[in-house]
């Protein structure tokens, strides 16, 4: 019976030109954003793939030189943007897209797409996910207002309830009709578009399919929550005007104000150290250029370690051994200082996700980029992979210098293509969702909590219904 009633409500909804126009306008905006994001993403990934190939060729063709100089020459690693970032770019516009993997330093990732954006470009930064998460609540509430509050205002609801055997079925049918409209008009086209784009771009894998399915499921749950809240508020409000004020106010509070407020509250509660503090710590604990006094201490340490009076006696180059010692010392410092800093960023993200109980919008703002592979957890994987590659490369080069001592004013040791080719090309990591799923807990809990609350609210509102 509910299905028949829902079909009837759906037909009524489609006849409401105002509600339908708003729904279609948002759908058009979402698809436009998807098309723009896909075009930008495809172009950027093409450029990055070309640049990565060129970097590899450059590395191989750098000619005969001191291996430590090769470690300084090194390569730029480029981070490919995941295809589903066209649905939700997450942090991508605000993080660097490339990093120079040189000796001595773990460089920052540079060239953020929004780094020198104008105010217009930042204000116009809209993606399918941000439009759905931010403005779909307004559309859901408008549909609920149209199908429930106005019905109540006109008195047609009272007639329907009086004639109904099970009044609650009417409420369920109205909610389902709204949910169905949101799913079919907003979610289905954009999800299908993303899947097709992924197939065309030859990036469609089992992991992408799983991510897309879960993204769509999370969004569908969000739509269900909002449909239920919209209908419940429309039923519980004392009048049509009160319903309107409550729904509009709820949209402003839940979708616009609270998520930003929660983000700034998290920042106040779990502050990040400034970049200046991080760089100062690095400068103090692992300077790229060490002093003559440090060099003397290191040489003494190396001699003691090898039990010789001259490192050449151990078949080692003093310069190479010193470079190697410093490099390995810096790794521990980078792990502690930079790694600790990134851990804190992740802690902030977890704290924000925990605010999902406050508003379903915040829950989905955490969940959506995680599923799309565009959150900081995924970005961190690239940072760590690039750093791991850098350390291997630099250690290999320093090892080559260390193991070839310069004999009595002889020419310094050099290497060529044969050694460079022994360093494998950099392969950006492709993180699987299963590796990041644990981070979804707080946001998913928040969203499910909201689903339970919305269902309870709707059931309560339905029970209070009197013809």
């Amino acid at each position: 019976m509910i299905a028949t009633l829902s079909g009837y409500e759906w037909a009524l909804l489609r006849r409401d030109r105002r509600a339908w126009t708003v729904l279609l306008a948002l759908a058009a905006l979402v698809l436009l954003a998807l098309a723009l994001d896909l075009a930008a993403l495809a172009a950027a990934n093409r450029d990055k793939a070309d640049a990565a190939r060129t970097e590899r060729e450059r590395w191989l063709a750098q000619g005969e030189k001191d291996p430590h100089s090769a470690a300084h020459y090194s390569i730029f690693a480029f981070k490919p943007t995941p295809t589903l970032a066209a649905l939700d770019p997450g942090i991508e516009p605000f993080v660097g897209q490339t990093v120079w993997l040189e000796a001595h330093v773990q460089n920052d990732m540079l060239y953020r797409p929004q780094g020198d954006a104008s105010a217009l470009e930042r204000a116009g930064l809209a993606s399918p996910a941000s439009l759905l998460i931010g403005f779909m609540p307004l559309v859901a509430f408008l549909l609920a207002f149209t199908t429930v509050a106005l019905d109540r205002g006109r008195g047609t609801m009272r007639l329907a309830l009086g004639a109904a055997l099970r009044p609650r079925a009417i409420v369920a049918a109205k909610t389902l009709a709204i949910w169905r409209a949101l799913l079919w008009v907003l979610l289905l086209p954009v999800s299908t578009g993303a899947a097709l784009a992924s197939i065309v771009m030859a990036t469609f894998t089992g992991d992408v399919a799983l991510r897309l399915a879960l993204w769509a499921a999370a969004m569908a749950l969000y739509m269900g929550v909002l449909s239920a809240v919209g209908v419940a508020v429309s039923l519980l409000a004392p009048s049509v005007r009160a319903a309107l004020a409550l729904l509009f106010g709820l949209w402003i509070v839940l979708a616009l104000a609270l998520p930003r407020w929660a983000a700034s509250a998290v920042e106040a509660a779990v502050p990040l150290p400034s970049s200046q503090q991080v760089k100062q710590q690095l400068q103090e604990q692992a300077p790229p250029f060490w002093s003559a006094e440090d060099a003397r201490r290191q040489r003494a340490q190396l001699l003691a370690r090898h039990g010789v009076r001259d490192l050449r006696q151990a078949g080692l180059s003093a310069r190479g051994a010193e470079l190697d010692l410093n490099e390995r010392h810096s790794h521990a410092v980078f792990d502690r200082v930079i790694g600790g800093f990134y851990d804190r960023v992740l802690a902030q993200d977890r704290a924000f996700a925990a605010w999902g109980w406050l508003t379903p919008t915040a829950a989905l703002q955490s969940l959506s980029p995680l599923l799309a592979g565009s959150d900081f957890g995924h970005h961190r994987r690239f940072i760590d992979a690039a750093e791991h590659y850098r350390r291997d490369l630099v250690n290999r080069m320093n090892g080559e210098v260390r193991d070839h001592p310069v004999q009595d004013q002889g020419t310094p040791h050099t290497d060529g293509r044969q050694l460079w080719a022994q360093v494998p090309p950099f392969e950006p990591p492709v993180p699987r969702l299963a590796e990041h799923w644990h981070a979804a807990g707080p946001a998913l809990g928040g969203l499910l909590g909201w689903a339970a609350l919305a269902w309870a609210l709707l059931a309560w509102a339905a029970r209070r219904l009197r013809p």
Binding site: D47, F94, L110, S118, Q277, F341
Partner: protein, 510 residues
């Protein structure tokens, strides 16, 4: 003579006066002021403004503290270097490598020079965070950085950057119109929704005066608390308003004009006599169009302006240029030496030059080769900024966001001013160091038997960075045209609304 007046004369009654706008406004001010909705909205707004200003202020205080720490760190480093230089002046049997020697001018210029440029926040900066969460407030300055400005930035949580900050600018630009939409949408349609419009129409009040008085009363109740709220929120956030009075007054004028624009837009919507649902829907749609739709389309158009080479293309070009310079290194140096009378006789020393000395010739050469690319990037950036500026006139939320960030000193224009000063500082440093480094090629300081090279000890004479602020009047002058434009728009919209309000809704006369 009207029929009503004629009737009054026949029955010896005084002619009933038509209620004037002033009279109606007085009544509406009294009536609107008693609405709980107004006070709830005002309280929420004021709380949001206080939180927003505090949030922006916290960011800027942290940035200013980082600047101070950086300054102190650079000073400590200078003292440490001077101390090391004194130690290295001692006689020793071995020589310190040049890259570990602060008394070697070339070694110092490449490995010991530690300098930063700074962009301190203005006293009124909590007014709007603008681009200050994205753009760096300090930049390291090295002699070899191409074009002076390193692509460094202060790391902020990128999730928070993507979401946008809950600052005072957000409250004023986005939430304030929402508050107005709710108030106008509900209070401006009360009689219509309750079937009381016919009663009002039967009174001696015209539709224009009656609805106009209602709308003006809502504006009059909202605007002063909002403007006072801005001052209070900034005070609570610890802003030194005494030091920024022109900017503060200009910001208050811009916000008042913005409120007038949205009020006039609401008046226009209400002049069609919609119900509350219709009024709120249409005004909400206008908000979405102006705050989201137009910037989305404008941003897509802006991305295609100027055909700027991408960052990836720039990296590739820089790598290619570096490779080419490395391959031609000695030839380039020889050409430079031949063109300089003081170095022409030192051609034979090119092979002995250390890396730092070579850089004094090769860093400018790299810039020369990358200049066309850099110019295209700068041109495209300028075009995007101009486009954004004019787009603000089409999309008032964007326009107000830009005006507030301009007044707060958190705008891209002030950042570009900072970058220009950074470039100028780097040139000053190069102008100071390069001649000293290059002088050592042809006329080296005689080597003593000290541990250090001792051809440099002018640590205290190295040029220091000094930030030069743009005058307040430049910021105010940049924001005023937009305020004027909002007032023109508000007048036009109110004029159209008034013109449409000659009659009560048609169905009342049915």
């Amino acid at each position: 003579m009207s029929a009503m007046a004629g009737l009054a004369r026949q029955s010896n009654l005084p002619a009933a006066r038509k209620a004037g706008f002033g009279q109606l406004l007085g009544w509406e001010l009294h009536h609107v002021g008693r609405s709980p909705l107004l006070w709830i909205v005002l309280l929420v707004l004021l709380a949001a403004m206080a939180w927003g200003a505090r949030s922006g202020s916290a960011l800027h205080r942290a940035q200013d503290a980082a600047i101070e720490r950086s300054r102190s760190s650079d000073e400590r480093w200078s003292q440490e270097i001077a101390e090391r230089a004194r130690r290295y002046a001692a006689v020793a049997s071995e020589r310190v490598p040049y890259w570990q020697d602060p008394t070697d001018i070339a070694g110092f210029s490449r490995y010991f020079l530690r300098a930063h440029s700074y962009k301190p926040n203005l006293p009124q900066s909590p007014l709007a965070v603008g681009g200050s969460d994205l753009l760096p407030t300090q930049l390291p300055v090295t002699l070899e950085t191409p074009f002076g400005v390193a692509p460094n930035y202060d790391f902020e949580n990128p999730r928070a950057l993507a979401m946008g900050r809950f600052d005072l600018g957000f409250v004023l630009v986005y939430l304030l119109p929402m508050a107005l939409i709710i108030l106008l949408g509900l209070m401006g349609t009360f009689e219509r929704d309750h079937g009381m419009l016919r009663l009002i129409a039967a009174q001696r009040a015209g539709p224009r005066a009656w609805l106009g008085a209602r709308v003006v009363a809502i504006f009059a109740w909202l605007a002063p608390p909002v403007l006072i709220g801005i001052i209070a929120a900034l005070q609570l956030a610890g802003a030194d308003l005494g030091g920024a009075m022109p900017e503060l007054l200009a910001a208050l004028a811009a916000v008042a004009a913005y409120l007038a624009f949205w009020t006039a837009l609401g008046f226009l919507v209400l002049s069609a006599w919609p119900r509350a649902a219709g009024a709120v829907s249409v005004m909400g749609a206008a908000w979405i169009l102006l705050a989201v739709g137009l910037p989305l389309l404008g941003s897509a158009a802006a991305a295609r302006l100027g055909q700027a080479p991408s960052a990836i293309a720039y990296i590739d070009a820089q790598r290619q240029a570096n490779d080419a310079i490395a391959a031609e290194r000695d030839a380039l140096l020889a050409r430079a030496f031949r063109s300089r009378p003081d170095l022409a006789g030192a051609l034979g020393r090119i092979g002995e030059l250390d890396y730092a000395t070579r850089l004094t010739f090769l860093a400018p050469e790299l810039e020369r080769r990358l200049q066309p690319l850099r110019d295209r990037q700068a041109k495209a950036r300028h075009a995007r900024e101009r486009f954004s500026h004019w787009a603000g006139y089409a999309a008032p939320p964007l326009g107000l966001a830009q005006a507030l960030s301009r007044l707060a000193g958190t705008d891209p224009a002030r950042h570009q001013h900072f970058e220009q000063q950074t470039v100028a500082f780097q040139r000053e440093l190069r102008g100071w160091f390069y001649p000293r480094v290059q002088r050592q090629i042809a006329t080296p300081t005689p080597r003593s038997d000290s541990y250090g090279r001792l051809n440099f000890n002018e640590f205290g004479a190295i040029p220091a960075y000094a930030w030069r602020e743009l005058p307040a009047r430049a910021r105010v002058a940049a924001a005023l045209p937009f305020t004027g434009w909002l007032l023109v728009l508000a007048t036009l919209l109110a004029g159209v609304a008034a013109a449409r309000l000659r009659q009560w809704p048609a169905e009342l006369s049915a």
